[in-house]
């Protein structure tokens, strides 16, 4: 499965947290560490993986790895294969974030650089900055870095996940990024709703609805053009191409509304990714009951994502609906 290697997340303004690595079966890329979106160095045919271990204040450990489906492996002390995207829930009150990497025995050493991203002093994620590989018999850990952060800081932060990345021949980079905390511009949303043929709604009401929503998830397309003088690339364009939101009581129930993807970008699995990431974000915040109302033609779509229709015979009822 050949696909372009995803560079690590860039420095701000993207504020990427988690790396989406994709496996490359092509030639190794050379790393250019000067640039903030250097591609990874990778060994030919070596899968990429990351293990992030969260050690809680009371010594309890939870494993967390967010993996791009099919491409990463989860290591929990035993080698095990992960052939689909998986995630282990993190409990609250994380205090220590430990990242460790395994290097192959026989290949040239690769540098590992951990970067700390503090956003609003709330939480901490590292970008994994260079490539590394693992063959099937891992060696001892070469480097671990422990990063502590304040007590009571919960790792239920806003997430940005790079879903798709394309590097064009001219060096232009296009990324589709999921975020659950980035503000959605009401006018961009209006344009998007137009594209999918939804009726217009007063912008002030839409703004209020977004503000009163527990979570507003977005898909943005970022287009970056490399600058010629070797500086950080300039973000040339940001376009809203998908959105979903959820209302909630912040504790027990959440209801997902308004899931939409720009028709130009449909058919790529972005709608699925949007809802999937949103579900994860909600589960991370311990919302146990995630519900929605599905039009007849999208019931199967949501079933594929883990939703059950009429659970226990429970019926959705609407008060005097008009169409």
């Amino acid at each position: 499965m050949a696909s372009a290697l995803a560079p690590p997340c860039a420095v701000a303004p993207l504020r990427c947290r988690k790396l989406n690595c994709v496996y490359s079966s092509g030639k190794p890329h050379s790393s250019s560490s000067a640039s903030s979106i250097a591609p990874f160095s990778v060994l030919r045919n070596a899968p990429l993986f990351a293990r992030v271990e969260i050690v809680r204040g009371n010594g309890k450990r939870n494993m967390v790895v967010q993996a791009q489906a099919g491409f990463l492996k989860l290591l929990d002390g035993h080698a095990l294969n992960l052939d689909r995207s998986d995630e282990y829930r993190i409990g609250a009150r994380k205090t220590i974030l430990t990242a460790s990497y395994k290097f192959p025995r026989n290949d040239s050493p690769m540098s590992v650089q951990l970067e700390r991203r503090d956003v609003q002093a709330r939480s901490l994620w590292d970008s994994i900055r260079s490539g590394f590989g693992l063959n099937n018999s891992p060696t001892a850990v070469i480097d671990t870095t422990e990063i502590g952060f304040k007590e009571d800081v919960e790792l239920e932060d806003e997430r940005e996940v790079v879903l798709v990345e394309k590097v064009h021949d001219d060096g232009t980079v296009e990324k589709i990024v999921f975020a659950s905390g980035v503000e959605v511009d009401v006018y961009e949303l209006e344009i998007l709703c137009d594209k999918v043929g939804w009726p217009k709604r007063p912008p002030s009401k839409v703004a209020a609805a977004l503000r009163n929503s527990y979570m507003v998830a977005s898909l943005h397309l970022y287009k970056q053009v490399p600058s010629t003088d070797g500086e950080d690339p300039v973000v040339e364009k940001r376009e809203l191409i998908g959105m979903a939101r959820a209302t909630s009581d912040h504790a027990f129930n959440a209801t997902i509304w308004d899931v939409l993807v720009d028709p130009l970008y449909q058919g790529q699995g972005l709608g699925k990714a949007l809802v999937e990431q949103m579900i994860r974000a909600l589960l991370r915040r311990d919302i146990g009951n995630i519900t929605l109302f599905a039009d007849a033609q999208v019931v199967d779509f949501y079933k594929g994502l883990g939703f059950e229709a009429d659970p226990d015979g429970i019926k959705g009822m609407f008060w005097y609906p008009r169409y």
């Binding site: 939804w198 009726p199 709604r201 009401k205 839409v206 209020a208 609805a209 977004l210 009163n212 929503s213 527990y214 939101r245 209302t247 909630s248 009581d249 912040h250 504790a251 027990f252 129930n253 209801t255 509304w257 308004d258 579900i279 589960l283 009951n289 995630i290 519900t291 929605l292 109302f293 599905a294 039009d295 007849a296 019931v299 949501y302 079933k303 994502l305 883990g306 939703f307 059950e308 229709a309 009429d310 659970p311 226990d312 015979g313 429970i314 019926k315 959705g316 009822m317 609407f318 008060w319 005097y320 609906p321 008009r322 169409y323």
Partner: protein, 169 residues
């Protein structure tokens, strides 16, 4: 998906009930020995959990319950005056603009059959109408679908289905 529901007029029960009036006024309720509340002030969380257990709803962690109530758009609860006992409850969450979902509609089994469920719903809906929200939905167990239908609730309109995420990991 969104319905373009027509907003009925704004007077208290108009549009909520057929007659335009509450089935039982505050005075009626007081004569029957009950009072209605619409804020979380004085709401006893232990009593609420006790009420939930009477109808086999899950017990809720009090911290979470408080957070849920603080982030609830509208709520109504009925108290028996003599005993100060909480005997009825209902709440609604939403975005305060377009939609609302009604949750946790409960009447103590010992006080059912007095029309208190209707009282709860009428007042909750009137509150939502006051906010201008008429796109109101809920999830009904099979045994109570018949309770909501006379109030104007329609199940699976136009083939729309209620769905819930099921964690089968």
């Amino acid at each position: 998906m969104s319905f373009m529901a027509v907003a009925p007029s704004q007077s208290e029960a108009a549009g909520v009930t057929e007659s335009g009036k509450f089935s039982q006024t505050d005075e009626d309720l007081e004569s029957a020995g009950f009072t209605c509340h619409s804020t979380i002030e004085d709401l006893d969380l232990d009593q609420l959990n006790a009420l939930f257990s009477k109808v086999s709803f899950p017990q809720r962690d009090k911290g979470k319950l408080l957070r849920a109530l603080e982030n609830t758009q509208s709520l109504v609860w009925i108290q028996e005056i003599k005993t100060s006992r909480l005997i009825g409850f209902a709440r609604a969450t939403g975005d305060r603009v377009f939609h609302a979902i009604i949750w946790d509609v409960v009447v103590d089994p010992a006080y059912q059959g007095l029309g208190l469920g209707k009282v709860l719903m009428e007042r909750l809906m009137a509150d939502l109408m006051k906010m201008g929200i008429s796109n109101i939905a809920l999830y009904a167990e099979p045994t109570v679908i018949g309770f909501y239908q006379p109030m104007g609730f329609i199940a699976d309109p136009d083939g729309i289905r209620a769905m819930a995420y099921s964690r089968r990991r």
